[in-house]
Symmetry: C2
Subunit: 378 residues, 2 copies
């Protein structure tokens, strides 16, 4: 199994894996560091100093080469391919999101990542009618040439994968690509790994926990031109996927349902808020018609998010930013407006705070200070 | 029972009844004639000449006084009040529509016509859930001070009246106010006549036929600030009511439902087209909040529709208009733009054509030529 890209050396690929697995390094920080330092190796060397500037006393835990090698071995054993976000094989819609996974494991058919995609998500405790609709719509979308993306959960996700298994289905999973979750979907997951594609940004063997699911949801929407929600209660995970889709500039569609069924309150609410009402695959296709070209990576946004000037951050500037931050998320742009520092300087300080474990990033380019975290210990 | 208004003499009221019951006189023509000639009596005298100018050879059938007297007697016997469109007791929202019934029979509580109103309509073959929703929403709207308007049909209409019988309900019926239709709703109709209000523009004893229902539907929407559709198939009568509501400047709301139920296709489609999604009475109240003041009669529109200059119509002008008209409805405004005649002159010619039985009026101030009608016979 070829894990390497012609454009990336083995050692740089290993260093990228070390960088994204290192303490306090998320996708946004990863991309910023890579842009600033040119290579993962150089970024790793800079990490301790950056974290110290952000207020970190104990040394930052850099991911050891040996553990990264072990992870790659495990991936090889399950027959997974490792895609870097600048590889040609990396899915273009996903590369366009601001927190694209720097590295992505793929089991199955890589060609599916380069066809037009529509996500179908919804309630785990879906009604029989909801499941039937999801499966029918997935089948019809498949017949029309769409690859169907979902999250391999019970209920709607299961039905969506089942309906599109023959024509092309992608499962974005919250844990390792080799971990069957939920266990009763194990057969389906194996079938998708053989005939479709299973996508994960987590190390093999990772058992998914609650905090992993929102990250998985951004993959589902990020891989897709649009997201169709079939049955969703208020405040359910499917609505998080819909919100990600909106933020990522993708279409949001929802199937309406009876107000008497709590599983339709979320979808009805989406429609009320402007989502496209969908009764079948034809509605999905009509909505995505204008998006037949895959979204290009938003170059301006990427630059804006990653351009940093590490060296210009003075101690007084850092204190200004720390004072402006609080536990409530604030837009980075708003922060820049209020502090009279250059945007790259602000981003440098935020990056250092993040590496120090004192900053949390939120969707919509917002950040908050982690007040409870031990800012100066490990 | 007092059938008279202080502002209208007995004889003028009788003449108005004769005018609206005369051949080829609809509400729009009625209002135009009354405005032009000042009284129903003068308009009746002018009818034969106007019809002749429109191309009518046989004499127009003017409604005899004796038959009008008989109708008023029948109305008295069932305890109905006859409201003229300029009576103070006439419902203000209905007076605002361009084809308001010149005369309206009312059985029951006249005070209901002057409270804020919301219509609930929908499928006759409604589901148990749809009926329950309609009844619950009607009850909640009633508790919030709304009078609920519906059409006394089976299914949703029945449930809407039932839910609002104690708090205030108005039934607009297609036949005479004394005719129970459908027969199985007889008990409910009697109860509404006693505790609510039954509204009809048809003579007592009229058994409703298919062509009467669209006219009834415009009453339902015309009486209401907004129309909520609960379950409706595609191309069903409830959608006609919704279209009238739109044309009358009223709110349109619809309850969403499963795409698998054909009874929800019409409501889902309304939402797709811009109707407000409603899951309960709170949504209806929120939508009607901005309309707590009853709509005023649109004075400008009324003038525009009724200002005519009977005497200026020359034979050549008439032929110009006849040539421009065809079996497909055309906007009167468009006609005026294309013919280089004054708007009042065009309207005069249209009125004469209508009286001659050669013109059909359509919603949205549109008209078409009746090609199959015998233009020169009775």
């Amino acid at each position: 199994m070829n894990l390497e890209s012609p454009t990336l050396s083995d050692s740089e690929r290993l260093d990228r894996l070390r960088l994204i697995r290192s303490e306090n390094v998320g996708p946004v920080t990863f991309h910023a560091l890579l842009r600033r330092f040119g290579s993962a190796r150089a970024a790793i060397q800079a990490l301790p100093d950056l974290a110290r500037r952000g207020g970190r006393a104990a040394p930052l835990r850099i991911w050891p080469s040996a553990q990264a090698e072990q992870e790659l071995d495990a991936a090889r054993r399950m027959g997974a391919r490792l895609l870097a976000s600048d590889d040609a094989g990396y899915p273009a819609p996903l590369a366009a999101i601001y927190d694209a996974p720097p590295l992505l494991y793929l089991r199955g058919d890589a060609a599916l990542l380069h066809r037009k995609t529509a996500a179908i998500v919804g309630a785990r405790n879906a009604s029989a009618n909801g499941r039937r609709l999801a499966e029918d719509i997935a089948r019809d979308l498949g017949a029309a040439g769409f690859v169907v993306v979902s999250g391999l959960a019970r209920g709607i996700d299961y039905a969506a994968h089942r309906g599109s298994l023959e024509t092309g289905t992608i499962a974005a999973v919250a844990g390792g690509a080799d971990i069957a979750y939920p266990p009763d979907n194990e057969d389906l997951q194996r079938a998708i790994a053989e005939r479709g594609a299973v996508i994960s940004e987590m190390p093999p063997g990772t058992v998914p926990r609650a905090k992993h699911f929102p990250r998985r949801n951004r993959l589902i929407s990020g891989l897709s031109l649009g997201v169709l929600v079939v049955e969703a209660a208020l405040q359910s995970g499917s609505l998080i996927t819909a919100r990600f889709a909106l933020e990522q500039g993708r279409e949001v569609l929802a199937v309406p349902g009876s107000p008497l069924d709590p599983r339709c309150r979320g979808t009805n609410n989406l429609i009320r808020q402007g989502a496209t009402l969908a009764e079948g695959a034809a509605d999905v296709m009509a909505a995505l018609e204008g998006m037949t070209r895959l979204p290009e990576p938003v170059a301006g946004q990427e630059t804006q998010l990653t351009e940093i000037t590490i060296d210009s951050a003075l101690e007084t500037d850092r204190r200004t930013i720390e004072e402006l931050l609080g536990p409530s998320p604030v837009m980075v742009d708003e922060l820049v407006r209020q502090c009279h520092l250059s945007a790259p300087a602000v981003r440098s300080i935020l990056l250092e705070l993040e590496l120090a474990g004192r900053l949390e990033r939120h969707p919509g380019n917002r950040v908050s200070l982690l007040l409870t975290a031990s800012a100066h210990g490990s």
